[in-house]
């Protein structure tokens, strides 16, 4: 399997297995992600989509198999190096944005920059630019509870991208949104990823959301279904 252009993939997983207790979430899943590519991972509930994302993003370690990111074996990295990498190279967005409820949209987006050592003023200025890019600059002073679901998700995307990660992992980013809000979120994400060359791994059960990606793989019972593989 390769990403179609013959280049070395930015992120590759081979034969991943992962069990939660007695439930095998992944049973030998393999996937490759090219630099700048947007890949949709689809599949029914319980097919292992989120577990795959957690393994690829270095949030959990697989029981077996390998995850290679830019030449480094993520599954073997010490925890300290792994969290460093997660902060510098990866951005993550979940179904419910998981913004900090006490902070305004602007401060939520500025926070990752401040944690990385940027001054508050500079961080807030850059956060404002990213809110603008996602069309929610006018909501900068609102707290998450005061925003619509779509505005909150666009703020969460701005927060995931503000540090300039190479890969954004999005786990059902539109799962809680109506179809128009979902379209706004996906259009913002797609345009921004293309403009900045950011690689995106998108988990979704919705084919209309998957259609924003360049390519789709389907998970069935913890393995990747596709040509030559029985679903």
């Amino acid at each position: 399997m390769n990403n179609g252009d013959g280049k070395v993939p930015l992120l590759a997983a081979r034969g991943l297995t992962k069990a939660h207790g007695r439930t095998e979430a992944l049973r030998g899943a393999s996937v490759e992600l090219g630099a700048g590519e947007m890949l949709a991972v689809t599949g029914a509930s319980g097919s292992g989509k989120s577990t795959l994302l957690h393994c690829l993003a270095g949030i959990v370690r697989p029981d077996a198999g390998s995850v290679t990111y830019a030449g480094e074996r993520l599954d073997r990295l010490p925890e300290r190096r792994l969290s460093e990498l997660r902060r510098s190279d990866f951005g993550v967005v979940f179904q419910f944005g998981q913004l900090i409820p006490e902070l305004t949209a602007l401060d939520n987006v500025a926070l990752p920059l401040m944690l990385a050592g940027t001054s508050r003023g500079d961080a807030r200025a850059r956060a404002g630019e990213w809110l603008e890019r996602f069309g929610v600059r006018g909501q900068g002073d609102l707290r998450p509870g005061e925003m619509s679901g779509g505005q909150a998700q666009r703020t969460a995307l701005a927060r995931a991208l503000v540090t300039g990660p190479r890969i954004v992992f999005a786990d059902e980013p539109t799962g809680a949104l109506d179809s128009l809000s979902s379209e706004q979120v996906m259009t913002s994400l797609t345009h921004t990823a293309r403009e900045t060359g950011t690689t995106v791994l998108l988990i979704t059960h919705d084919a209309q959301v998957a259609a924003y990606a360049d390519r789709e793989i389907r998970l069935t019972d913890g393995v990747v279904a596709g040509a030559g593989v029985t679903a």
């Binding site: 029914a44 379209e183 996906m186 259009t187 797609t190 345009h191 084919a207 209309q208 998957a210 259609a211 924003y212 990606a213 360049d214 789709e216 279904a225 596709g226 040509a227 029985t230 679903a231």
Partner: protein
């Protein structure tokens, strides 16, 4: 789709000639098959015959003379009647995908493989339509038309996913019939 009603709808904006109607149709319904000139002129003649449109005059703009048409009062009434008429909630259960799955099961073919390939083709078309509708500057007609196609393809896709999951049961039923 009723070409005569679409043309009446375009004439509602004011008198127009056949070439212009064809152009505006193709702009307004960008995902539809473009209208053939012959079809436009035949339809206009029938509208005139039925008293729903009439010849307004001719114009030339320096080129060949063109006949312009306008809607009549009967035409406006017919358009309003058609636009408010409920379309039958069509059951698409006899469509080609469904037929191919059943035939494949009857003939011992690989229905699951067919469904996977068909699903990939649907996804590819959905990616194209999504790119069309999210392109910067896409107009409302294009977006609405792409939305309509996307939702129907999505419905097919959900049916195919469920069918793939049911295939074992379905095969057993067809075999025992």
């Amino acid at each position: 789709m009723s070409t005569r009603h679409i043309l009446l709808g375009l004439l509602a904006a004011g008198p127009s000639h056949g070439y212009d109607l064809k152009r505006r149709h193709d702009e307004r319904f960008p995902q539809a098959r473009p209208l053939a000139y012959g079809q436009v002129y035949t339809t206009l003649q029938r509208l005139v015959r039925d008293g729903l449109a009439q010849i307004d005059g001719t114009e030339s703009d320096g080129g060949p003379e063109r006949t312009t048409y306008r809607s009549t009062e009967d035409g406006s009434r017919e358009l309003a009647r058609w636009a408010g008429e409920i379309a039958p909630p069509a059951p698409f259960v006899t469509n080609e995908i469904f037929a191919k799955v059943v035939v494949s099961i009857l003939s011992g073919g690989d229905a699951a493989a067919y469904l996977r390939a068909q699903r990939d083709a649907h996804m590819e078309r959905m990616r194209q339509l999504t790119a069309v509708k999210t392109a910067k500057g896409a107009d409302l007609a294009t977006v609405l038309s792409a939305d309509y196609a996307l939702n129907h393809l999505d419905a097919d896709l959900r049916w195919m996913t469920t069918t793939a999951a049911r295939l074992t049961t379905l095969t057993a039923e067809v075999d025992s019939a």
